[in-house]
Symmetry: C2
Subunit: 403 residues, 2 copies
């Protein structure tokens, strides 16, 4: 029998309890062990608590119960979640989490604590919800030198962009719709400004390249400035605007990671990733491109990834998993402003002025373009170069182009 404690009975935490209960036989078989939720920690009261779980408000009951072998942390954030995770590891308990913020900020430290104690700290659910991605990168692609990882990492913004393209909604209207459907929170900042995607690309970078990348090292731009005019021009160029997190290992071994909107070509593997779905592409020297696709969020997809880690922890009490990376630091990363890509530019200018500033350009057409407005794609420039060029033009939008 494996006793589990769940910290935080919110959307994911209650989903974990439900998945463990609902698929009990199947899960016990996979884990070669019966898995039971012994405690749930939450400050709130749940008088009708199901599944015979014991609700506690005092963390030390869990900390001091030697029968608890696996703790599921679904509190979120870096406050109590950090403290309790450390205390669980110190008490010899394996920890499983969906908390991307904690892993992005303190992943190295927590993995190091876990390693020293021969414990597992697992976080499959922290990126891509229920899409298997952490384990495939760390294990299945282990024979590859990975040199790039990128993708649609945030379902909320992808839903908004999809609705702008398909239904012609403005950003604000699409956001309101996403909120009404429960896909976006009341305060949508973390999603729409790219902070959520930033945390996820930090975790993917660390896994893929072996050194911690901290959120402050990742230039992060969201989608709140994307207009229907940009969506329309992109469409006329057979492209879609998607918010991507992207991390590259440069030839000198340094890592450059950023979050920004991109125009991706129709027919590319990411262009069909719509609505709240996520798609993550990993490039390896032997395998080439691999993509993982599925629901990137939601109660049960996320809970199922957490429970898969619980099963894994239960099977590996004496064997640590592959997860591990170096502490990182400012000598490991490089500002993404040096990464060259093509660019989409919308400006009040003539084609001749644009050509003078940017050299060879590919014009995009829009039937209802206001007088004087043009949009075009440039050759490859890095961000510094693109900002230097065209300073004499009235530039309305500037978005990276991938592929």
């Amino acid at each position: 029998m494996v006793n589990v404690a769940i910290l935080g009975y919110g959307v994911v935490g209650s989903g974990v309890a439900e998945v463990i209960h609902k698929n009990a036989n199947h899960i016990s078989e996979k884990a070669a062990n019966e898995i039971t939720v012994k405690y749930v920690l939450d400050v709130r009261d749940f008088p009708d608590a199901p599944f015979g779980m014991r609700f506690v408000k005092d963390f030390s009951i869990i900390e001091n119960d030697p029968e608890v072998q696996v703790v599921v942390e679904t509190i979120g954030g870096t406050g109590a979640a950090l403290e309790f995770t450390k205390r669980c590891l110190a008490a010899g308990k394996n920890v499983v989490t969906s908390n991307k913020e904690l892993v992005a900020e303190y992943g190295y430290e927590l993995l190091h604590m876990a390693r020293e104690r021969n414990l597992n700290y697992l976080f499959e659910a922290s990126v891509g919800g229920g899409i298997p991605i952490i384990r495939p990168i760390s294990q299945c692609l282990a024979a590859n030198e990975l040199n790039e990882v990128y993708g649609i990492l945030n379902g909320t913004t992808n839903y908004i962009l999809t609705r702008m393209v398909r239904a012609g909604l403005t950003f604000q209207d699409a956001l309101r719709e996403a909120q009404a459907k429960g896909y976006a929170e009341k305060d949508p900042t973390a999603d729409i400004e790219g902070y959520d995607a930033c945390r996820k690309i930090c975790i993917l970078s660390a896994l893929s390249f072996g050194s911690h990348v901290y959120p402050r090292q990742v230039a992060t731009e969201g989608i709140s400035k994307i207009t229907l005019r940009d969506v329309g021009y992109a469409e006329s160029g057979k492209r879609k605007i998607k918010l991507l997190g992207r991390a590259v290992r440069l030839p000198d071994g340094k890592i450059s990671a950023y979050v920004a909107p991109h125009l991706v070509p129709d027919g590319s593997s990411l262009s069909n990733v719509e609505d709240v779905f996520n798609g993550i592409v990993v490039k390896g020297d032997a395998i080439g491109d691999v993509m993982f696709y599925g629901r990137g969020a939601g109660k049960f997809p996320t809970a199922s990834a957490v429970v898969a880690d619980v099963i894994d922890a239960a099977k590996h009490f004496k064997a640590r998993k592959y997860l591990d990376w170096l502490p990182g630091g400012d000598d490991v990363t490089v500002d993404s402003a040096i990464l060259p890509t093509r660019w989409y530019i919308r400006a009040n200018a003539t084609q001749e002025q644009a050509g003078n500033s940017f050299g060879e350009i590919e014009m995009l057409r829009s039937p209802d373009a206001p007088a004087g407005e043009i949009a075009f794609l440039t050759a490859e420039f890095n961000k510094r170069e693109i900002e230097t060029r065209g300073t004499d033009l009235d530039i309305l939008a500037r978005i990276r182009v991938l592929g």
Copy 2:
């Protein structure tokens, strides 16, 4: 130090040696152990053998060397591969393979032998080349009850179908081109008649549903009868023809698996899987749809999956992996003829005759249709029903429609 022996120095076997050599540092770090190829078994002579490997022609040298802990079987087929795999397991050696035919026919037996000896028998490379799929299904999705798995499992046929759509080549011309490019073998039967996809869906079924499904239990149809007329009609209905392997767990727990061409809708996750790429969709009760996408074949993608398993075996000498399933049998599977789908029909008939035979139909248009020919999509029928209906029509083609 972990000593590896490679059985068969063909495309995959030599790729494995090269990947282990090329990424040696990285791989040793991942495995927490130095990995060396001690022997290669091949009946042929390789006078310029690289990497200091010792070529042997006598299997018993490997079998009797207690230093060999992991054996890579890349012989293929079910002859010597089966015998040597059994003798390796009997001698206490872990075995890693890319041999889908062997796993599809003898997977249960070999996993059982491995389990009894606390050894690993690993075959990530047997499905989807280098795409991580075996481990994600068996571990990452472990908290889900899976109820369906399907996908484009064969790169050769997908290349041929892609060229028929994009370049308007006939099946024969596209096949010749695939052979010229090295994507199809001189004798292309196993690919174009669906036998290769059949073996892969057997393995995916066993992993997903927990019981061995044997190739003889899988109705298998290839793509050699697909014509450009069918491709054109499909296109007019915003669909593409793809060869799918598909396995479903029915509400009574029985498994139904088959391989057949399907019309899949443009914009669906599989419709963008083109050329030699593979895409595999798994449906779970908690996660919903997840897709895995990448190069399904080729020397280095496949070799990288084999080497990932070697690393895994090296890390788990005393812990078996999750892989395991029941022996299966005829009471476990059900003929796929009972599975309902929509159908595409091309016939020499009138729309009225078609309506009389099939009820509600959706007509497809082709500008260059010969006089008297029509094509249409039906409502859902199983294969038996669809064969019973329309017996009075001159039916030219009948293809399942997915979605």
